[in-house]
């Protein structure tokens, strides 16, 4: 039995317990192959240490203290004092699910995760289904899993086009169309966007490695989740088109590397996002419903609900949105001349204010999401004016 890379790494980094260290040291004395392995890894570490030493700030230069930054922070605080309603991460997560695109969470975790959740399709229609065991908070409570999934999957992802995490604010619709590569539908009449933001599209491939996926499952401590053997080696090709967002009213895009695109709301605010459908294809036929089930289990949904949810669609052309029962109210609604859904997030508004809401619909190959805290009528009016 020979030492693994991680054991040697921990030994080099002093991260072993005394008994573990003793055990490994004894083994090294008697195993030439492991000694060679150890020396090789130690040499790599030396290369890295020397490389990072070059990044040390010039020792002759005095680094700035915190006082200047504290002064700048005080000035910024004064300048931005205003009433705000935060569009917080859980709602943004719903937003992401609503249009099936990663606008808020760091690549590659959500990109890879989204492609698994979406299965293999292009979206022609959307429907919803409430779940008891799906909690928006569970996403935040289990960031370890999402981040770990990203870390491990990232090593097998090849980006062919585009760049993850790139969000641009642009000055005109023409610029947005040039970057996104498709014609936009925008509100007509007196609706003029305050902010126009483009999140770049992405085209990437990855190959499923069951060992890695199993590690993610183990990290999530999810019991009784078996990954089908037929997924081993499957190559997945994912195209996520660019997302264009336009804001109306009192909204400000503040951005946040941790949360992706992030908006602050001063008064009435409406944020319209649109994008063509993502497209996913694989090197061989896979059971898309199984991928959906795995994705939900990774997010803490029970085995029973994940299984029945995954069977609601063939996942070829219909996206079914999981809705956390009790946290979101949902109704079918006619919007932009087609059938869509009106989601009301409970508990976000203060007394006398409207709740934060989202309209979701698909029309002519574009997926739309309109997040707002105004009256519903205003949001429907904006959607009806799209041209």
């Amino acid at each position: 039995m020979h030492l693994k890379d991680e054991q040697i790494q921990k030994l080099l980094d002093g991260e072993l317990t005394p008994s573990e260290e003793n055990k490994i040291s004894v083994h090294l004395q008697s195993c030439a192959r492991c000694r060679q392995h150890f020396e090789g890894q130690k040499e790599q570490q030396t290369v890295l240490q020397q490389a990072f030493d070059y990044l040390e700030p010039d020792p002759s230069r005095v680094l700035p203290g915190s006082q200047k930054t504290l002064s700048r922070l005080r000035i910024k605080r004064e300048e931005t004092k205003m009433k705000k309603i935060k569009i917080s991460k859980p709602l943004v997560t719903v937003f992401v699910l609503s249009i099936s695109l990663a606008v808020s969470l760091a690549f590659p975790s959500v990109r890879a995760y989204a492609s698994q959740l979406l299965g293999l399709f292009r979206v022609d229609q959307i429907s919803v289904h409430p779940l008891d065991t799906f909690k928006l908070g569970s996403i935040e409570e289990n960031p370890t899993l999402i981040e770990a999934a990203g870390q491990l999957l990232a090593e097998s992802v090849d980006i062919l086009e585009g760049s993850p995490d790139e969000i641009f604010q642009v000055n005109s619709i023409q610029e947005a169309e040039a970057i996104s590569g498709y014609a936009l539908r925008l509100p007509g009449g007196e609706w003029a966007p305050e902010v126009i933001e483009v999140q770049s599209g992405l085209h990437f491939t990855f190959q499923v490695d069951l060992t890695e996926v199993q590690e993610i499952v183990d990290l999530g401590e999810i019991k009784d989740l078996q990954i089908p053997a037929e997924l081993e080696g499957v190559k997945v090709d994912v195209t996520l088109p660019a997302i264009v967002s336009t804001s109306y009213g009192e909204c400000w895009n503040v951005g946040d590397p941790d949360d992706g695109s992030k908006w602050k709301v001063g008064g009435e605010c409406l944020i319209l996002s649109e994008s063509p459908s993502p497209q996913v294809s694989t090197s061989q036929d896979v059971d898309a419903s199984k991928l959906v089930e795995i994705g939900l289990r990774l997010m803490g949904v029970s085995e029973e609900e994940a299984s029945s949810f995954s069977l609601l669609s063939d996942w070829k052309t219909t996206l079914v949105l999981p809705i956390p029962r009790g946290e979101l109210d949902v109704e079918e609604i006619k919007v932009d001349g087609t059938q869509g859904y009106w989601l009301v997030h409970q508990g976000w508004a203060e007394e006398g204010e409207n709740e934060l809401q989202t309209l979701v619909w698909v029309k002519d190959g574009l997926i739309y999401s309109l997040m707002f805290n105004s009256d519903l009528e205003k949001a429907l009016e904006l959607a009806a004016s799209l041209q």
Binding site: D5, E6, Q9, E15, E56, P64, R77, K264
Partner: protein
């Protein structure tokens, strides 16, 4: 929720400034390694603490982890943005003019060249691996890294070993790293 922050009233400014003062040096140190100038690092450090003021984490038990994560993400974005700028400048023929105008001692010039090479390698790596190395070689322990990146501490050793291997391969393979992606 701690008594220096409440959902209804926000931060206690005095407590907030205490947090800035006690974490400042470590955050700046991480950013200085990635940024080409201490001024850029200082600007990014301001951004880290501004985000703390505006959008504090839901869980203050892992405040340091949150700060490291925000700093690393900003640092990585800065890395990519520096690389893009250099590519554009080189294409515009500017870079040679700037470099030839400044005469540095040989040792300092060599150090800058190597530092640039290291940053270019980091920029070409998988983002998750680059962030991991930045934190590790900024002196964070496995536990601190796991808190910053929301990873299982037991997986850090394996992930680090892989990231180091990937870095060495790119760093030592003799390619011209300057303007490749």
């Amino acid at each position: 929720m701690p008594n220096f922050f409440s959902a209804s009233q926000g931060w206690d400014p005095i407590e907030f400034e205490k947090i800035v003062k006690t974490r400042w040096e470590r955050i700046l140190h991480i950013l200085c390694r990635v940024c080409e100038s201490p001024d850029d690092a200082e600007d990014l450090a301001l951004e880290v603490f501004w985000r703390l003021w505006e959008n504090p984490p839901p869980n203050f038990e892992n405040l340091d982890g949150w700060l490291y994560r925000v700093a690393t993400n900003l640092a990585y974005n800065q890395l990519r943005s520096q690389a893009r700028r250099r590519r554009y400048e080189q294409q515009a023929g500017k870079i040679n003019l700037v470099e030839s105008a400044v005469v540095l001692p040989e040792k300092e010039s060599e150090r800058l060249q190597e530092a640039r090479k290291v940053r270019q390698v980091l920029e070409k790596m998988k983002p998750a691996q680059a962030r991991l190395l930045i934190l590790r070689y900024s002196g964070l322990s496995y536990r601190e890294i796991s808190m910053a990146l929301n990873l299982n501490p037991n997986s850090i050793g394996k992930l680090l070993a892989r990231a180091q291997k990937s870095f060495c391969k790119k760093y030592l393979d003799g390619e011209d790293h300057a303007f490749e992606r």
